[in-house]
């Protein structure tokens, strides 16, 4: 018998001197019945008899396999069965313990009811997801924090869910997806921001969603390669909308975290918005400051999947523009494009700045410490 040791050097990255926080972990139900205790008999009947009504025709989740089964790392399937990130002990072993995470933020994706056409079902399911986070994860693992999953197409209902959960310190943000029916600055979404600002939680906006619109502004792409670029374009549309509609002035204290959207686009978007604002300011007189200024005050970004330019200085320049205090580490566990905390944040980034990215910035914006 040839005994093989595990790969060496697991543990917290040495530069994570302010702690290691992962702001993007995707827990998943083993199957829908895990939600059963948290929905009414009537909603359960509706869900199991008529199902989810996504705005995308014929699609209720993954319309194609996305490079790997359930778009997950092939080594993330729990040995005891069930899909990746459905089993707390295995998630603890493979992520929390292995890398020495101090805090991990749960961002539940499908099936979550977000963006569902049936408003009533969307309200019931999203609330069930929040109860499920508490009962299946947060109650058992103090290193994990939840995200308040809201039925964002219904602003008042989403605001009610935010206020309902806000007293529970285990929830650290309000959770939206980047593909919504209308741009996120529109008035229908304002109750969400009003509630988030009121309870002092940031709004996390994660790539994806089933809005009913084609995922690119010119239609449906042919390839998955194109879809994963769309994260950056929907993020730009959303940030532009929120900034130009004046959301951050209307709701003081509101911050957003763009999750899994990349960040190389941030400087370019800001430059172009500033240029247009100088010329067309009188169209939007409520916009009393340069868009770039608002972005650098209220918009945060997460790292994964991190841009990997050939020349390090290009990455450093983009990060410098965004601000070293506004970039948060994310792994995207258990998805196939997972970033390893020891490897993904390059060592050419000065050590104190890596410490901020690994934990300092998230601790501040989410008030973990």
């Amino acid at each position: 018998m040839n005994l093989v040791r595990p790969i060496a050097s697991y543990g917290k990255p040495a530069a994570a001197t302010l702690g290691l926080v992962d702001v993007d972990i995707h827990p998943r139900v083993r199957d829908l019945s895990e939600f059963r205790p948290f929905v009414s008999d009537a909603d359960w009947h509706r869900l199991t008899t008529y199902g989810i009504h996504a705005r995308h025709g014929f699609a209720k989740g993954y319309p194609f396999p996305k490079a790997a089964p359930l778009a997950c790392r092939r080594d993330a399937w729990p040995p005891g069965g069930g899909p990746p990130a459905s089993d707390l002990p295995f998630l603890q072993e493979q992520l929390l313990d292995r890398y020495g995470l101090d805090v991990g933020v749960l961002n539940p994706l499908q099936p979550s009811g977000q963006g569902d056409v049936n408003d009533g079902l969307s309200v019931a399911l999203t609330s069930a997801v929040n109860d499920w986070q508490i009962e299946h994860w947060l109650r058992h693992e103090p290193r994990l924090r939840g995200s308040i999953v809201v039925p964002y197409e219904d602003g008042p209902a989403a605001a009610a869910e935010i206020r309902k959960r806000a007293g529970d310190p285990r929830f650290c943000q309000v959770f939206l997806l980047s593909r919504t029916c209308e741009p996120l600055g529109r008035q229908r979404y304002w109750p969400i921001y009003e509630a988030a600002a009121e309870v002092g939680l940031p709004v996390g906006i994660h790539a994806f969603g089933y809005s009913g619109h084609a995922m690119t502004s010119t239609g449906w792409p042919s390839f998955y390669v194109e879809e994963v670029q769309e994260h950056a374009t929907s993020a730009q549309a959303q940030v532009a909308s929120m900034v130009v509609e004046g959301i951050f002035d209307r709701f003081p204290g509101l911050n957003v975290v763009m999750i899994e959207c990349g960040f190389g686009w941030m400087p370019s978007l800001a430059w172009r918005l500033d240029g247009a604002w100088k010329r067309l300011r009188d169209e939007v007189p409520h916009l009393t400051r340069a868009p770039s200024e608002i972005m650098r005050e209220h918009v945060f970004v997460s790292t994964q999947p991190i841009e990997e330019p050939e020349r390090p200085e290009h990455l450093l320049d983009a990060m410098e523009w965004i601000g070293w205090d506004r970039i948060l580490f994310a792994s995207d566990y258990p998805h196939w494009d997972f970033d390893d905390p020891r490897m993904a944040i390059p060592s050419f980034i000065p050590e104190e700045k890596r410490a901020a990215i690994y934990g300092g910035n998230a601790n501040r914006i989410y008030r973990f410490r």
Partner: protein, 137 residues
């Protein structure tokens, strides 16, 4: 470099693989239709274990819409980011010059030859009537 007996040939069938440790390194040994190849079990990108990846072939195209598939089972894909590595050489498909997995010479030796030494075979009991996979690492 020394030679390490890592498995009886019968333990790694064609299309199969085995993770072994030799000279303190974690190595994955593949059998491609009777030929053995050994790669460091670590992706050069972010360090995942390549042994957890699936085997695939080479999909190529001369123009959009026309695809050719060849060399089935001769590439391993990283279980995380799907990078493709040629098992015969350890070279990545997208940047074969600079992005590659370290590979080690591997072959087959008869037990009768091995019992004579001087091979590092402390973990595998060797019998004269069997054949063994040997890795130089």
């Amino acid at each position: 470099m020394s030679r390490h007996v890592v498995a009886p040939v019968s333990e790694i069938p064609p299309g199969g693989r085995k993770v072994v440790e030799a000279a303190g390194k974690r190595i994955v040994v593949f059998n491609l239709d009777g030929e053995f190849f050994a790669l460091l079990d670590r992706c050069p990108h972010q360090g995942s274990q390549l042994s957890g990846g699936i085997l695939c072939g080479l999909t190529q195209s001369d123009e959009p819409g026309h695809y050719r598939f060849s060399r089935a089972g001769e590439f391993v894909r990283c279980p995380w980011h799907q990078w493709e590595f040629d098992i015969r050489t350890g070279k990545s498909w997208f940047d074969p010059r600079r992005t590659k997995v370290r590979h080690f010479p591997a072959g087959v030796a008869e037990g009768s030859e091995l019992v004579e030494g001087p091979y590092t075979a402390e973990t595998i009991p060797v019998r004269v009537e069997e054949a063994y996979v040997v890795v130089e690492a």
